[in-house]
Amino acid sequence: MLGSKKKKDILVLGIESSCDETAAAVTRNGTEILSNVIYSQIDLHTLYGGVVPEIASRMHIAKINQVIKKALHDAQVTLEDLNAVAVTYGPGLVGALLVGVSEAKAIAWAKDLDLVGVNHIKGHVCANYIEHPDLEPPFLCLVASGGHTHLVKALDHTTYEIIGRTRDDAAGEAYDKIARAIGLGYPGGPKVEKAAQKGNPEAFAFPRARIDENPYDFSFSGVKSAVLNTINSCRMKGMEPDEAFQADVAASFQAAVIDSLRERVLMALEEFQIHRFAMAGGVASNQALRGALKEACEQKGAAFYCPSPVYCTDNAAMIAVAGYYEYMNGNTAGLDLNAVPGLRM
């Protein structure tokens, strides 16, 4: 039977509710995924052009039990079989996080299970272990999503050194804003990527920002402003952005984002002499970015890793995996565990 537990098996239930995905998953002995259930609210938020925190929180309450039950059912386990409940406690939307945290604490207490608080960004990094048993720290990882853009060194399975982070917008956030500005709608990532396929990446020369204090930090507000100015001057000439214009803007914007991400990855591989590089987070689903960074790694002789799209998006399997490593390290939480919306790595 799929979910049968041998004596020394460690079963972890992961719960994720930091943004607009209600998710639960069960893992065995770290990286073996027994189930991975995601209820996405995206259709609901599309009506408002972005995630509405109060609506997200209400939907988490409406769906969380069903999602957890399905994860247990798919894994063919019961709560009694589990060792620990791992839950995202930050960073994210506070009202959304609190649903998962409150639910996880109640289940853990009721069943005398260990409780583990998981950092969402660490969860994204750990998604790489699921399909790549050969991947071992230390490695370099770029975490890019709608809420985060971090370049980190994974020192072991639970500790990280931050090399660079965004000074303003996250990469995914910039995609969303550009998509809205050129009339592609929400969510921006897949829509801009699709439009970019038909455009000329050299049509517009959008800036690639450099940060003086830390050359590894990112900034996407400059390229965003440049795109908005381009659209405005087009409108001032009495032209409405047509499909060809959209495609050229999307392609040129994406080229600028990829360039600035690639430049820092190459620099870090060189400086820190790391021979493994991994991607993580929703933006890691972007095929153009994957291709560019894979090529950069080949150029440096570094191994390239990237999770399948289902583990790039917010999911609870990655939370259970990260939770397993924290659990094995003895990092369990008390019943007073709180949500920390601005949690750092």
Binding site: L47, I55, S102, K105, A106, I107, A110, G334, D336
Partner: protein, 244 residues
């Protein structure tokens, strides 16, 4: 028959365990500390104080709103998790009804008011009717709603004017302090303000209502439990206004 009751709709979270109408334990949290940190430790302590094992309870009563959206969700998610894990039904208790039960058995007109911001209060108008057989019925003049304090006072003026010798009106809740002057200015009837210990939401009152509901068969599947917010989210409200 044992019930765990959870209250986290206002400024102070609490948990209680009741057995056949008797309160075995009531644990109240500190003010202004996030319920997320306090509620589960309160629940755990309540079982210890009551000397009850968690498997022994028959149902979990939860204060179901209105109130602080976030506070309500902490209570709701906690109750849903406990209900699922312990395989016990939930009892969804309207928060304002539970507040009225702070005055169980009094013949007064009981008016809980919670500050709902945006110049409104969450309120309702209730009383207890003692039947000839000495049983007490909970009676609703006006059920849970979000209205302005002026609208509430107009309603109460009219309600009390219908009776030659109207009962005393008792106000309670965190909205009293904010609207005390308005109440005094607009009331054409005799009223009193609740004493501190009966002024706010309490888990033991949630438990007593829960007990009544349980015997009436009013239980909820933990999967289906959700707070009554009494209001759409701001984004939904603005979208609806735009449409009009």
């Amino acid at each position: 028959m044992k019930i765990l009751a959870i209250e986290s709709s206002g400024a102070q979270a609490s948990a209680a365990i009741l057995e056949d109408g008797k309160i075995l334990a009531l644990e109240q949290g500190p003010f202004k500390v996030t319920h997320s940190e306090t509620l589960m430790p309160l629940v755990s302590r309540t079982f210890m104080v009551a000397g009850v094992r968690k498997e022994e309870i028959d149902a979990i009563a939860v204060s179901g709103g209105p109130g602080s959206f976030t506070g309500l969700r902490i209570g709701s998610a906690t109750a849903k998790g406990l209900g699922m894990a312990l395989k016990k039904p939930l009892i969804h208790v309207p928060t304002l009804h539970a507040m009225a039960y702070n005055f169980l058995g009094s013949g007064n007109i009981i008016v809980p008011i919670m500050d709902a911001r945006r110049d409104q209060v969450y309120t309702g108008v209730f009383t207890f009717v003692i039947r000839p057989d000495q049983m007490i019925d909970f009676s609703i003049f006006k059920d849970s709603c979000a209205i302005s304090i002026t609208e509430l006072m107009e309603y109460l003026n009219e309600l009390t004017s219908l009776d030659g010798n109207p009962p005393l009106v008792v106000f309670l809740g965190d909205g009293v302090e904010k609207y005390e002057n308005t109440i005094d200015e607009l009331a054409d009837f005799n009223y009193a303000l609740a004493p501190d210990e009966l002024n706010l939401q309490r888990a033991d009152s949630v438990g007593i209502v829960g007990m009544v509901y349980y015997f009436e068969g009013l239980i909820t599947d933990p999967d289906e439990e959700a707070p009554d917010y009494l209001r759409p989210s701001q984004a939904e409200r603005e979208a609806a206004e735009k449409k009009q």
